[in-house]
Amino acid sequence: MEKQIRRKDGSLKSVSYAKWGFIFIAPFFLVYIVFTLIPQFLTLYNSFFENYRDGLKQIGPNFVGLDNYKELFSPDGNGTILVLRYTLNTLIMWLLGAIPQFVIAMLLAIFFTSYRLKIKGQGFFKSVIYMPNLIMAAAFSMLFFTLFDMTGPIHYVLVENGIIDASFDFFSNRVTVRSLIALMNFLMWFGNTTIVLMAGIMGIDQSLFESATIDGANPVQVFFRVTFPLLMPIFVYCLITAMIGGIQMYDVPQVLTKGNGSPNGLSKTLVMYLNSYFGPSKNYGMAGALSVYIFVITGSLGFFVYKRLSAPYKDSARKHRRRKGDVI
């Protein structure tokens, strides 16, 4: 309030400063327009054109309307609609990693914040579980490949102990490939989720826990009746950002399966599919249509994140203060 009044006094002054706001945000927008916005429109534009390379011959670009989209959703020789299969693959592998990720992160967040348990060495545990998040996904995946490959040490130990057959290949079995990818995603993300959820729990007013305990609630009741409902906004935010990250899953399965999504494309993700159109065929038309499809899925999920983030900034300052004060 005070600031505004002061500005009103010397209205000339505030006008001359407004220009600096524009100058300061100009580089961001300039770069955003050139490197993101224009490419986005170009991608959309491409999706309406036939534009690819057939051997040495360049086909197009010819306007074909919605043909690329039709082709994207039409079944291949075996009657499978590839884009849906890859969507399903992405979803399955994401869920396989995300379910344990959220369950364990929630548990750890409760452990770390519990004043009854008083966990020692929290700094160490947090550092360790967060570490895989910063590791290069491509290198992590390559490491898993070398360890689980038929000549690798883990394969060797499992054969020695008679757990698997010597001829067993982790990378030609649907279940093991998907599980390994999910395991890597789990390892890379559960630490991050733990820390975010923990921060969320610590943001909740401690007196609420105390009064619930005094009223005779047991720890399980406290969690389900107090902690979880108050943590809900942050939990949902985490979940949706994780989902958006899941849709972008690429590096790990790409390196692990050499880009072919073995076996039989059952570990191929949407972005791997997108990447395949950049290969020798340079099929920008189909890649464009696929990008739009991915954009629509992420966009609708992202809308929730946007809602969540913009909520504190909408409306009045009064609401803002209150929100800042309690849950967040």
Partner: protein
């Protein structure tokens, strides 16, 4: 209430209490077991990597051990001097790109955030809403247009498309904006103005130093994500001497890797993640503080 029942109650209370203590201890044991197991899981694969990077190819073929071998230096020399995968060059390339990106991203995100935080101008709300709305759009969905446009601009095999887009980083912007709200009083800016400081000077000499913790955290994150970035660089960089580390690691996988010296392969992977590991070991405390701070407000 009679005396007797009171005593019974007290007795029951006591036994409840000891039961509670036993329960709590048991719970603690389980919790520590879970934590140790998860920590083990996080470290185990990297431990194996380091062990295997210290063994010879012949040793690795023979089987499995949890003890280091004596071939670490030799593997390092072999990997470093490999003819087909020029890892020192790749590391240098990645370092240049990641450092430049980290500096540009943090500086310009702070600048943009300051532009919106400290000034009132028309359409400010709209600008802010726009940045929030586009925050979650992944770079992959504009890759087709991006690659086309960069090729047209003659920027294939150039680092400009990998560095400059860092200037427009909505997520970092949002973090900076949040941080400014909690640490940057606008009176300070007004005072600097009274003292005759220009707007850019105020930002560079007064605002930036106040943002140091936020800048440090975001520099680390943008460095790491640029160092690890694989999708877009792989689409733009073709010349072998331009390639970055993740591309080389992926190449390792697509080459006929049975021909490789396995000790060397493990060493390549170790080298790829080593810089980030070192930074993390030194700074893990502030990194974790940084995510915590960023997430509570989010």
């Amino acid at each position: 209430m009679s005396k007797q029942s009171g005593a019974v109650n007290r007795k029951r209370g006591l036994s409840d209490n000891t039961k509670g203590m036993v329960k709590l201890t048991a719970l603690r044991v389980i919790v520590y077991a879970i934590l140790i197991f998860l920590s083990f899981l996080c470290l185990f694969f990297f431990y194996l990597m380091i062990i295997n990077a210290s063994r010879t190819h012949a040793d690795l073929q023979k089987g499995f051990t949890l003890l280091p071998g004596g071939n670490f230096i030799q593997n390092l020399v072999n990997a470093w001097n490999d003819a087909s995968i020029n890892i020192p060059r790749g590391m240098l390339n990645s370092l240049i790109i990641a450092l430049a990106t980290a500096v540009l991203t943090t500086y310009f995100s702070a600048l943009t955030a300051y532009g919106i935080h400290a000034y009132d101008f028309r359409g400010k709300k709209l600008v802010f809403t726009f940045i929030l709305a586009v925050m979650m759009i992944p770079s992959q969905v504009s890759a087709v247009g991006f690659v086309q446009l960069m090729n047209k601009m003659g920027l294939h095999d150039s680092y400009i498309p990998l560095i400059v887009p860092g200037i427009a980083a909505p997520v970092v912007f949002f973090y900076m904006k949040q941080y400014m709200e909690s640490v940057l009083p606008l009176d300070l800016v007004a005072a600097a103005r009274v003292d005759g400081s220009g707007e850019f000077r105020t930002f560079n000499t007064i605002v930036l130093p106040l943002l140091k913790p936020a800048i440090a955290v975001q520099m680390i994150f943008s460095f790491v994500s640029s160092w690890n970035n694989y999708f877009i660089p792989a689409l733009l960089l073709d010349k072998p001497e331009k390639k970055t580390v993740p591309i080389m690691i992926a190449q390792l996988r697509s080459a006929d890797y049975s021909k490789f010296d396995m000790g060397k392969v493990f060493m390549f992977i170790l080298l790829a993640i080593l810089p980030v590991m070192i930074v993390y070991i030194i700074l893990s405390k502030s990194i974790i503080k940084g995510i915590t701070a960023g997430s509570v407000k989010g």
